[in-house]
Symmetry: C2
Subunit: 166 residues, 2 copies
């Protein structure tokens, strides 16, 4: 099947077209609070339109089953959306470039358990994909007036094969 | 000693003068992503002035030693600051009402390991107080131009006695 997605380990470089990787590894480190706290500064920078504010929510995601059929994507035109895992377990994410208002070919990434991402505003992505177990994420996105969700289906779906995600 | 602080378990009610408690317990629950994800919506609402943006950072705090001397507080006039623990361990926090530009009597709270807080802009609070072990927190606060840190000392310090924090 030609529509099987390749999974790449998530890095700031390969995710750059879509947003930021939240990772202490490589982050700017500031010592604060009289040396009692290490601040890994600015792992994510929110983009929120003037009508909205950034809010913090908690997502609890069911694990996905494989082979997994990727048949839709979504985007949030008015604000970025950041995810950070609360359990140190790997998780999957899928993003795509825009192609005349529709998502282009999906690009799949495997994040390790201490990596989050921040999708920039209006970046096509797949809904949260937890692996193996019910998994919680802290999420920073937008609340406010206006339509901040767009969804599109792929006419020909893509697939992710079963794998050992541990 | 009259300056020994009483520690109260953190609740949305007793923390209300200072900000929000981030807790799935009691939060608004929305089912999203075709029923695969529970969204505990809007646990924290950022307050960021027009010159700034909300950013996500990670704080790694050294555990505090007891008896602990509370001799200073800080506040961030231009933005709220939210903390959520990445390990499910209890942590301590201290906030105070404003008293003519200085912090009033400190109020100490014990948060359990699935509780965060969001200090509203300009609320006096003590720097991060981890307990027992080095502990990480996801932090959502402000980045931007302007002076967003004010510190004040207490002329007569307060104390927190040693306790079993587990």
């Amino acid at each position: 099947m030609s529509n099987i997605l390749t999974i790449r380990p998530l890095t700031p470089e390969n995710f750059a077209p879509f947003g930021e990787v939240l990772d202490t590894d490589g982050a700017e480190l500031r010592m604060i609070n009289e040396g009692t706290t290490e601040r890994f500064h600015g792992l994510a920078h929110t983009e929120i339109d003037a009508a909205g504010i950034a809010i913090v929510s908690l997502f609890r995601g069911q694990p996905r089953h494989f082979p997994y059929r990727v048949d839709m994507m979504e985007r949030h035109p008015l604000g970025s959306q950041a995810f950070y895992p609360l359990a140190e377990r790997p998780w999957l994410l899928i993003a795509a470039e825009d192609n005349d208002g529709r998502p282009g070919d999906p690009q799949a990434f495997l994040a390790h358990g201490r990596q989050g991402v921040n999708y920039r505003a209006n970046v096509w992505h797949h809904p949260l994909m937890a692996l193996n177990e019910v998994s919680e994420f802290l999420v920073v996105d937008r609340e406010g007036e206006g339509t901040n969700l767009e969804e599109q289906s792929y006419p020909d779906p893509y697939f992710i094969e079963a794998a050992d995600w541990t």
